[in-house]
Symmetry: C2
Subunit: 208 residues, 2 copies
Amino acid sequence: MTLQTPQRRTKRDVLTEFRHAEILAAARGVFAEKGFAGASVDDIAQAAGVAKGTIYLYYPSKREIYFAALREGLTALAVKTEARVAGAETLYDQIRAYVETKLRYFDENRDFFKIYFAELGNMVTQHETRDSGFEQIYLDQVALLENAVRQGGGRGETRDLPARSVAFAIANLTRGAVTQRLVGWTEGSIEREVELLVDLAWKGISSQ
Amino acid sequence: MTLQTPQRRTKRDVLTEFRHAEILAAARGVFAEKGFAGASVDDIAQAAGVAKGTIYLYYPSKREIYFAALREGLTALAVKTEARVAGAETLYDQIRAYVETKLRYFDENRDFFKIYFAELGNMVTQHETRDSGFEQIYLDQVALLENAVRQGGGRGETRDLPARSVAFAIANLTRGAVTQRLVGWTEGSIEREVELLVDLAWKGISSQ
DNA sequence: TGAGTTACTGACCGCTCGGTCAGTTGAATG
DNA sequence: CATTCAACTGACCGAGCGGTCAGTAACTCA
């Protein structure tokens, strides 16, 4: 039933992929600087070094470019986080893996974090965002922590606490720390900050 | 040097004040629902039951209405928080006062919180916001906690920790909790949530 | 009652911007 | 070298919106 499709990527495929990436990278920078409303498609086109019409050969609308940038960054981060957390044994190490991965990733992808954080703000008002899968990705990340906490609790590593609330708390601590760094309210090294956050969280939840 | 100003408020003053409040209340609802970019001045006028021109008799621009709504809510909350925290003796009670005041206020003023939270998102990208006093109000609130933590530490109530980071952490926990409630990810009572948050924070920082 | 004054109205203006499409370019092909 | 065609361009269109202002309503006061 499936149609025969060419096995090798044609030159055209490569070019298409390249343009997609090129436009997306340009868009990320523009959206990070000006926000969704403040960014014009012309801005993005100029940043990408193409004409506006070309943008629409690769993306159907401004919103779709925005979502694509968001999706790309979110899934990459989710994959990384899940891998790191899965590679940790104890709850303490899992929390540490979570916090450290997020902090480092966002620190290395500041433009993406700006878009992400601004979009969180919109999620509260604009329902469009909530319906487009991002809410799920976010909740999945929380669930990752939640499961770790629940299992750690089962092993007696923590005192008796609602795992979901604890997971949210850790996520909030982490996101806040990233934000503070981004706007320049934090100066210390990432290592020290991870240390402090994990220490606070761990003392807060551990059984001893 | 000061000019002679009328002692009693004239009828005109009362009307002016009334219109300002009326428009601001309408604007708060519209901004909360649609966000700054999505809200049109016509929307606000309609919600306030006046013509668009009337809006401009009381506010010079759409942005100013937005800032006025933000400023009003922020200062009211800041006043409340400072009073409650000042009325608490121990660090534990101060943290509790802080968390509880914020949670209750935002729960009772959801429209305001939506505007506030969306604006936080913008603050990361749009520098205009950072330059207009809101950043200072925010940092003052953190400083309130920071001082409490520092003094509590001096009294030996906490272990040795960087007060500023702890203050940010508590602020992040609190704001996150409010957000979770707003989007419907939390179902329990506010009392229980305050209990949990303060408990987590306290266990995280206390000397024992 | 009518003249003067203040509050209010909403049609209108200018401009921005998302999206389109007729036309151009240049590489591939024979 | 001629032909073809996919990729690309940017002038253009129409909608939406912030802000204005000439006109109207309503109120005051002599």
